[in-house]
Symmetry: C2
Subunit: 189 residues, 2 copies
């Protein structure tokens, strides 16, 4: 028994996460993970019986980490605009690590995902939208931000636009494109 279960499954998830974020859920196989970690495919199946289960656990961990990051921003107690900027900076950081947002990637793989993963992807975006809408509404009430209509609609535009900008910036290999887009987007509020 070389390593503890927890340690190993985290290492597996680390590799799988990067693979999904760079190649998509259909763009990698257990063999890729096995090679990266120098273990057998069978060993991976011991920790994650099926690829669907691996994907589900991946989402679970990712969403928890993201929620934690959002709580971190809330705790910082800055202005609404400052919070939005920190939110965008999370995306920028992922992009600079040559990755796409996990859920942005899975959104494009959506039609081919196992059911549990589909639900998890939507839940991720729902939570993002909810957090953003709260920040936006607070900012508007404070006279700090300006936008028309429901905060939820504005939140959806932000999530979609950041994901889209990220996708394009990554294709061009120019993370700065994302920064410019995010800046303009927030400036319009």
């Amino acid at each position: 028994m070389a390593r503890t279960q927890l340690e190993t499954s985290q290492r597996i998830l680390d590799v799988a996460e990067r693979l999904v974020q760079t190649r998509g859920f259909n763009g990698f196989s257990y063999a890729d993970i096995a090679q990266a970690l120098e273990v057998t495919k069978a060993s991976l199946h011991y920790h994650f019986p099926s690829k669907a289960e691996l994907g589900r656990r991946l989402m679970e961990r990712y969403e928890a980490a993201f929620a934690e990051a959002l709580r971190g921003i809330d705790a910082s107690g800055g202005s609404a605009r400052a919070k939005l900027e920190r939110y965008a900076r999370i995306y920028a950081g992922v992009l600079r690590d040559d990755r796409m947002c996990l859920c942005g990637m899975l959104a494009s793989d959506y039609a081919t995902l196992p059911k549990a993963m589909k639900e998890a992807v939507k839940h991720f975006f729902d939570e993002n939208e909810r957090w953003l809408a709260a920040v936006l509404e607070a900012g508007r009430s404070a006279g700090e931000l300006e936008f028309e209509g429901p905060a939820q609609d504005a939140a959806r535009v932000i999530v979609g636009s950041l994901e889209g900008a990220m996708m394009l910036a990554r294709s061009y290999g120019e993370p700065a494109r994302f920064d410019t887009a995010a800046e303009r987007l927030l400036a319009s509020l």
Copy 2:
């Protein structure tokens, strides 16, 4: 010879296009196309020797059709805002056919694409950006649109935001989400 080569390859491209737009480039196989058209895989390889070649030809046709659509908008001679609205309506139409933009889909598959396809994807976005920037600049000059900084930057925000909004709307199976996002986006100009 039941059908002409042209006719058959177009039918193959039709099916392949829909498959890429719904499942991604790694989410379908020659077997899927063969089944849909009730021909053998070998027959597909006669028309498109490799999947990479099939993808390249797909892009070629798609970009030509898109360019034609843009020329159609130009020819209509409406206001800059009307042109942008018609541009967004192209995306909305694709979405209502349960599809993603071909190139938006390929942007997320980017890391796994054959080289020729990578170039074609970037070229598609370059052309969109160029067209949008021209419309935006003309609209600003005419005092019809209002935005800060280079038209190119604004154009990039639009392309990215529409692609992102499309991706999310499709995941939720709610095309109306796209319409709302597109409306807000254009209203901010």
